[in-house]
Amino acid sequence: MANFYSDNKDLQYHLSHPLMKRIIELKERNFADAKLYDYAPQDTEDALDSYRRVLDIVGEVCGEVIAPNAEGVDHEGPRVVNDHVEYASGTVRNIEALNEAGLGGMTLPRKYDGLNMPVTCFAMANEMVARADAGFENIWGLQDCAETINEFASEEIKAKFLPRVSAGETCAMDLTEPDAGSDLGAVMLKASWDEAAGVWRLNGCKRFITNGDGDISLVLARTEEGTKDARGLSMLIYDKRDGGVKVRRIENKLGIKGSPTCELVFNNAPAVLVGDRKMGLIKYVMSLMNAARLGIAAQSTGLCEAAYREALKYAGEREQFGKPIIQFAAVSEMLKNMEAKTLASRAMLYETARFVDIYKQLTHISHDRSLESEERAEMKFYNRLADGFTPLAKMFASEYANEVAYDSIQIHGGSGYMKDYACERLYRDARIMNIYEGTTQLQVVAAINHVTKGTYLEQIMRYEENTPTEATKAMYDKLVELRKVYEQVVERVETIDKECAGYKDFHARRLVEIAGYIILSHIMLRQAGECEAEYLNPTKVFVKYASKKITEAESYINASEAEDVELFKA
């Protein structure tokens, strides 16, 4: 029996992180639900045990159902039939299995039939689903649209839609249009108030909509006639049961072929407003996007895991010159680096997810009662970390997914270029991950503020407060040295930028990457200190790799003068 949870010690390790205790405390609020629901936990240990058991179910469905279906889904893909999406048969079976297992509404409160699990656990589930089939993860992972509804919609809307998500209905977020991609402020889909019917009416089209024919769609639309920017946009919910939206076509993509990417035509489609008018992009989409970015970090980590395992297996079986190719240094070095990148992606993903959990949960509590001043400080603290870490997690995991998938094919040699092995599908699937939900270049735009504002440096200093063990001391010293390098280059860039605007933008990615490499290394280092047998060697491998990358970026920055920026202008 293949089980993607029980076969992955690293995932299990992350569930036992000390911060989980605080997360459960906030999530369960004195375990009041235990009196109301027969599946609610009695105490912290009980909650953690339930998380483990539920993730074990996810792992089994992934290993036994979704992974075996992945190849068929990739070949078959979805189709448009009578203006609606018909999923590949394997996709239908996947959804059925997950719904039988009752895994809808994983993070939603019990009063909406949810499982009330932390974002961290949902990210784990997403990671496993993506390891089984990255394209399918897009469809299933969209249940986090419900989180946005839960956070911002009225009680009436929540009571109507959230139990349906818990029962397994699928979601979509309809943001992109032909002329509004990264620049969502340009969205033109028109929403007009229909006084007679008492609903909003949507007219226009959307493009590149993942699972566009989902049951419940969050739609970004222009409610304020005559406006042209972000301030005229609101968030609405369109219910597929009401009708009014046609799928014009499904894109023919390089990868994630099982995930229907739709072009939608709205024709007087009825919709209800979420929260306040004009806050659609400014507030709600930002929240939605942060959750989605964490989702892509999970998807990317799952893909790393799959690509690494495929390569490891092949390298152990394939013999050349009388021995398995894994025994050749060039191959085993690649594998060790792939492993280190996979573990580092995961470490960053769950560090971020825990930050998100604490601040999100405190936000929810603040809707019911006013927070104590300590709690307010805690919320602010973790909110800032979550904002700073989310773009890093997304950027690093998605770039690593591409690198690991690339190396996975390389290890398979000529066979990897054929359709016979899963690595070619993984390579195609990975390619979108550093593009959608904000390209890597846009993650840098979000992250550079945290370089300037010092979020990263402060957190690195906090990591430095951890006392290293004997085995990690040398790496710790190296990271302290690299932090000083980071401070030096940041200072240099900011100084020159004052004279020459554009210099900081030019080096933004390099600065963000240096910060990221130090942060990832520190999280790995902490793990190596706690669990030497599992993590010491991969951490050594990662820190060596990180040092090399940082040195490279440092030497580039220190050797580039203000006028060099001109060289790269179009």
Partner: protein, 282 residues
């Protein structure tokens, strides 16, 4: 009816003891696969009828209660553990006798079981239970076609095709591996039933767990000792088991060099002689 069996599907080097018996310590204890198909069919019956209960009866040591919990996670409402030293050493005859005694007590409307267990592969227990209870039986069931209060319609998978049969209720149905796979464990059910314990397990549980089960009676797995099901002691366990193992042979497959045959008659003739002599053919 379900059985906990050693997982013989992925057998490693240490699966057998040097004495030639199954090394249970080296093999994980699992829900017999075809019993899972049977559970799914029983749950489908419940889905169709609505007002019904699915309960699992298993015979085995205390740890066999895992099978009942697993069934509850997947949709069963409860279960019975038939356990005691008197049952040790049962062959299929003694097993079906013990199970039929328990079933007389439970008195179900339909009995569903897997065709056979992967440790013994006899496929005898289901039919023997039906005979002992004097009930009609449908074997090789593949699909539940229909069910109502008085009869059940089943599609059977046979060697050269399939047939649809109708049986009056109560009846015993044994289900094939080709039937629909069992639904997965359900998240909420796992959280709800994870503390379910059989009576003898409760004896060693802490006070917290006991109190919890008192509060929530659905967490109590009924346990029958031999005396609870009024059996004839002679027909239980070893004394009720006429099966005697004559000899256990440890067959070790050894890789030999491949043999190349031409299409000449002489080569084929020689192979036929060899196969007949080795009792592979004939």
């Amino acid at each position: 009816m379900a059985k906990q069996v050693p997982d013989t599907r992925n057998v490693g080097k240490d699966a057998m003891t040097p004495e030639g018996t199954v090394n249970r310590a080296a093999l994980a204890a699992i829900f017999n696969p075809e019993d899972l198909n049977a559970l799914e069919m029983a749950l489908q019956m419940k889905d169709r009828i609505g007002n019904a209960r699915v309960e699992v009866l298993t015979m085995g040591p205390q740890r066999a209660a895992d099978v009942i919990r697993e069934a509850m996670f997947r949709g069963a409402d409860g279960g019975y553990l038939l356990s005691g030293r008197e049952f040790a050493g049962s062959d299929t005859l003694a097993t079906s006798y013990a199970l039929s005694c328990a079933l007389r007590k439970i008195n179900p409307d339909i009995i569903v079981a897997g065709r056979q267990a992967i440790d013994g592969d006899t496929a005898q227990v289901g039919p023997q239970v039906a005979e002992k209870l004097d009930l009609p039986q449908v074997t090789y069931a593949e699909e539940l076609v229909d069910i109502n209060d008085s009869e059940i319609t089943i599609k059977r998978r046979l060697e050269r095709g399939s047939e649809v049969v109708v049986a009056p209720l109560p009846a015993v149905i044994t289900v094939n591996a080709s039937a629909k796979e069992c639904r997965p464990r359900n998240a909420k059910r796992v959280m709800k039933f994870k503390y379910a314990l059989a009576t003898s397990e409760m004896a060693t549980a802490d006070d917290k767990a006991k109190g919890f089960i008192e509060e929530r009676p659905y967490l109590h797995i009924v346990e029958f000792a031999a005396a609870d099901v009024n059996p004839d002691p002679e027909q239980l366990g070893l004394s009720g088991s006429p099966t005697k193992v004559k000899k256990i042979e440890n067959v070790v497959f050894q890789a030999k060099e491949a043999k190349t045959l031409t299409s000449e008659d002489a080569d084929i003739e020689a192979l036929m002689v060899e196969l007949i002599a080795g009792h592979t053919l004939g």
